[in-house]
Structures are given as C-alpha cells and as structure tokens.
Symmetry: C2
DNA sequence: CTGAAAGCGCTAACAG
DNA sequence: CTGTTAGCGCTTTCAG
C-alpha cells in the first residue's frame, strides 16, 4: 500500500515534531543532531517513505545532479561502451544520466540538445556538431566536454588522438610490408581529417601509397557497399583500413563473398576494438580506443568541472593511449605463402 | 555573448510589457493573443534567449516530461537497439530519456532505480527485478512497463513471448533433423524458464532430446567458456542454441578453435538477431526479436499510459512477433554431404 | 484577452 | 543544535 500523495518535507517535519529546516539539514547531512531528533527523523522518513523532490531541490540550488550525454549512434558498440563507462561513474557520484541518440544527424542537433542542456549540470557531446551549435554550447554557462573531437580553443575534449590512432595502424601495415593501402573513411565525421593526417604521416614517410575511399555511413552496411568499389579494380589496395570496426567488418564480409581471401588476398583492419572484432573470421586487427575507459574519464572530468570552475579550461591529462591489437585479418601471409597481385 | 544570468519568465514579461501569466500561457500555447502582444512576446523571447526552466515547471505541474529506462546491459546490442527505438519516440514526443545500466546486477537495483523514479513520469525496466522491487515499483504511482519479462498480474509488459521465440527455433532445428539439441541458458534471467518451456514444448513432442547448460552470463565470453563443457563429451549435442546471439557467437568461436566445423560438426543458433549475427562466419541463424521496434513500442505505450490513466492496465496489443532468421550456422549440411570447407 | 496572487517542495541565510 | 523566513521560476485559478 502506498500513500495517496507522496510525502513532502513538511509531512516529515510534522511527524518528527521538528521544523522543515531541520529535516532538510538532516537529509543533506549538513550537521549533526541530538540523538532523540535524529531517531525521530529517521523513523518518520522511513514511515512515510519520504524522498526528496529533485525538482524542488534543483529550483533552489540551481543544480540538477544530472549529466547529459549525446552520442552519434547509440547502437554503435563503441558509443554503447562509452555510455557504460559514463553510467558507472555517474551512478557512483549520484548523478543521473540523460541520453540522446543523435542518430548521425547533422541538422536539428541543437533542438535535440537544448532540452538536455536545460535539465543537466553538464553535457558530454560526441563529434560532428555544427560550429554554431558549438558556440551556443560555449555560451551555455555549463561545462561541456566533447568526445572524439579534435581539440579546439576554448573547448574541453576527451578521447584518443585521432592522428595517433591512425599512425599506429599505418605503422603496423607498413611493417607488414604492404605498399598500397586503402582507407575507407567517413568524410562527415569530425575525426576523419585527423585520421587521414595520421595515415599520411606514416605512409608518406615510408613511401607507401594511400588510396582514399569514403563510406556512406560509419556502419557495417556501408562497409559492405563500398567493398566492390575498392576491390574490383586493377590497382586494388593490398590492405584496407576501415574508419571503424563496423565498417571493417562489413567490408570483410563482402570482400569474402566477392571471393577474396582475408588476409591473403586483401588485409583488413579497423579502429575501436569493439567486442565483436574478436569474434569475426578472421579476427579483426584493430586499435583499441578504450571506449569504456573513455566514458569513465569523460564523466569523471565533467563532474570535477561542475564542482570546480577553475578546472573548466584545463586540458585533460593525456591519459588515454590507443593500443594496437594485432589479430588475424591484417597479417601479410603471402610472404610465407603464395604470391598474388 | 550570453547574458550573465539565464532569463526568467519575469524578464520576458518585463521586456514585453505583459504579465508573467501571459508569458506562461503563450509559451504553453494555451490560448490566442492579440497580434501586438504576440509579436512583442515573440521578440522578447528571442532577444533574451529565454527558455523554460523544467524544474520550476515540473514543480507546479508534477510532470517531468522525462522517462526512465533501465536495462541489464547497455553494451548488449539488443538493449542498445531497444534504447535506440525508445529514444526516437521519446524525442518525437518531447520526452527526455533517463538511462541507467543495471550491469546485470541482482542487488542494489532499487537504489539505482529510485533516483530515476523521482525524476521521471514513467519507468521502463528490463528483466530480473527482485520481487520486492517490483512491489515498490507498483506502489509508485507512476506507469511502469517491464521489458522481456513474463506477464504477471498487474504489471504491464512489452516484448516477445519467450515461449514462442524458443519454439520457433526448436521447430527449425527439428525440421533440420537434429535429434539431440543443447541449450545454453542463463538461469538468472527472467525469461529463461519460458525459453526452456518453449523448447520442451516442441522438442518433447518431436521426441528430440534437450540437454541443458547454463552460461555464467549472457555474454560472448561466457559462451566461449561453456563451449568445451558442452562439446567435449561423448553425447555432445548436434545443435546448440545460445540464449542470445552474444552467447551463440562466443560459443561458435570457441567451438571452431576446438576444431569443430560449423554447422557440419555442430550447428549453432542464437536469439535476438543482433546486427553482428550477419557478419560472423558462418552467419548466425537466429530469431529476430525486433529490438528497435520493441523500444519504440514500449516507449509509445508508456507515453500513452502517462496521459491516460485508463490505459495503464490494458494488455498490450500482441503486435510484435518473433521471426526466424535462417542463415548458415544451423543448416544440417551433413545430409547433403559437406561440399565446402 | 490579460493580470494578480497563491503556492509547488525545498534550501539557505539568519536568528535564537 | 533548531526554527523562521524568504524566495527559486513557473502554472493556475480567479477576476477583470
């Protein structure tokens, strides 16, 4: 049986025979109390099943104890794991998580973000936000952290350095002896330019040719679609990097059904190290970007920014380093087997 | 440049030369206005960049225009897609989504749900909630919908009928001619018993033996772990059903590294039809539970319950039907001789 | 069509 | 240690 109306602080005060101020202080652990009062308070609260009305509280404090998280695609395992990490530290700090899936949209983003901004103490936003929205966010008077966005002046970012991520993979492929490498990017992503830069840094220095392709979306379906275009040409690349594991996996699947053996006929690598990458055949060589840890880091960061104005503009500690994960999909096996072109 | 303090309804009223009541009615489209007032209001609001304070609003209305969604594991693609669907219809109806990842925990669930309950107009909760928490939720005075939970009296549930899902798969396997089938379940899940019932319904009738196993968790890692136990025994099953695609995929991978060919040596099937199931090798036969549509349905449902007391107890329309997705992993190829490797 | 006034439940000084 | 009081920003009767 639950009471008709939910109990308010006044009900508790009355039941305990104290003032509402006392109840408030008790709930918020702001001071100590005489044993008798404390006991009465405790039982009154239990009796009535009282709990604070967050709206009322936030009206006066101006804080919501909620954080907003906006990601490009909730169903992308990378983002799902970022959320997982973010959720964990939010809960540990008594924050609630408001989530919005941007669904890879480029327009109407501000409209989706605005309600979030109003209801939270801070925002975590993933890449590809139009410049005017970035400005709006900056003028919001709340901490905002960008995810996987190249550093810009005046905005705090968390995530791997895209240049480094790409270089890592390029270095491995060069070391394997590939001399013509394809990159299936996603031009509309904020990190795409940096990825290309990282690739070129290494590949140009090694005298390795880079062929650039673009996927329609950062998804497996798009990876499938692009495969024929990449592979059915005389100068096809010996190795292909997908801009994320999803694209790489789709690409790999379609490549196989086109009759290519992986990695013998064409090597494939991805980025992110989503859980699935271990389970495809061949297992996918990729770069671990520590999605879950990224989520934890970004949430930790924003919570500290909320408490401390001073920390709002500090650069994040360069704690997260990408890690190359060597598996089967990108080994140059033809060096120890048959040699095809 | 943003103003120092965010504008309130009073600022707008003053700037427009009207009362705050008028502003309020204007914002909430509660009536029509004289052209002059309307124009002044419009420009004042734009000028000041005013937007409603949701906390203040909800203080008086008692509504939050937010919905809580609690799932067992955010990183499970099934749940991620449920969230995607839920997010979409929430946004379309001007609701915000509060998310909490239960992380497959069995304890402390109420503590995680309580803040959500206080901040939302309704809750969507996925399975395996302890009975006392269910009671608490029921006494909450807010609509609550359970996800993937067997129907109980007095609670609204959305999701596939687990019995049907399991039967569908069992039927297919029987038709393929398998006579000894294994099921890798997850005993702690709310749906496990119904799955078993669905399996037995069909298998017993067909005189097919069912061997039951239990995974440590509904994850790929657990699927890998259990594989040896299932396969390295004289009476190993000819076909194995994972309680979800994640488990099935892990199982399949480990089975292969144990030297089993799939489906020649052992057939494998999963449940959910997560996106990845198409991309593993061999592609995974599974049952589509329409995760994203489930999310849309459950959100639609709860929003209608919020507006309409009467609909709170109605049974949901049996709209969502599971669909068998036949792929490569569970074909009985030995009947037509294994032609390919 | 417009406005005045009464709170929603709570916290934060300030007194005692 | 405990209580009084003044709002936080907004919606909602109820008058005009």
């Amino acid at each position: 049986m639950s009471s008709r109306k939910t109990a308010t602080i006044r009900d508790v005060a009355e039941a305990a025979g104290v003032s509402i101020a006392t109840v408030s202080k008790f709930i918020n652990r702001q001071q100590s109390f005489s044993a008798s009062v404390e006991e009465k308070l405790r039982s009154a609260i239990a009796e009535l099943g009282y709990s604070q009305n967050p709206a009322a509280r936030s009206m006066v404090t101006g804080k919501t104890t909620a954080i907003g998280l906006a990601v490009m695609d909730i169903a992308n395992p990378h983002y799902a794991n970022v959320m997982k990490g973010a959720n964990r530290v939010a809960l540990a700090n008594d924050y609630n998580l408001l989530v919005v899936d941007l669904e890879e949209k480029g327009t109407g983003v501000r409209e989706m973000l605005e309600p979030l901004a109003l209801r939270t103490d801070g925002l975590i936003v993933s890449s590809r936000i139009p410049a005017d929205v970035v400005d709006w966010l900056a003028g919001l008077n709340k901490p905002v952290v960008f995810l996987g966005q190249p550093e810009r002046q005046g905005v705090v970012c968390v995530g791997m350095d895209s240049v480094e991520v790409a270089s890592l993979l390029a270095g491995y492929l060069v070391q394997q002896g590939f001399t013509r490498i394809g990159y299936v990017g996603y031009g509309r992503a904020a990190w795409n330019a940096e990825r290309l830069r990282g690739l070129h840094d290494v590949l140009d220095a090694a005298g390795v040719e880079l062929m650039e392709f673009d996927a329609e979306a950062p998804t497996s379906e798009a990876g499938e679609q692009v495969a024929a275009r990449v592979l059915l040409r005389p100068d096809r690349p010996q190795a292909v990097i997908g801009c994320n594991d999803l694209v790489a996996i789709g690409f790999m699947t379609e490549a196989r059904s086109l009759g290519f053996k992986i990695p013998q006929d064409v090597a494939v690598a991805g980025i992110d190290n989503i859980p699935t990458s271990r389970y495809v055949s061949p297992s996918l060589t990729t770069v671990d970007v520590f999605s879950e840890a990224t989520g934890e880091t970004v949430m930790t960061r924003i919570i500290s920014m909320i408490g401390d104005e001073a920390s709002r503009k500090l650069s994040p500690p360069p704690s997260l380093k990408p890690l190359l994960v060597v598996r089967e999909s990108a080994k140059r096996q033809d060096r120890i087997a048959a040699t095809e072109v």
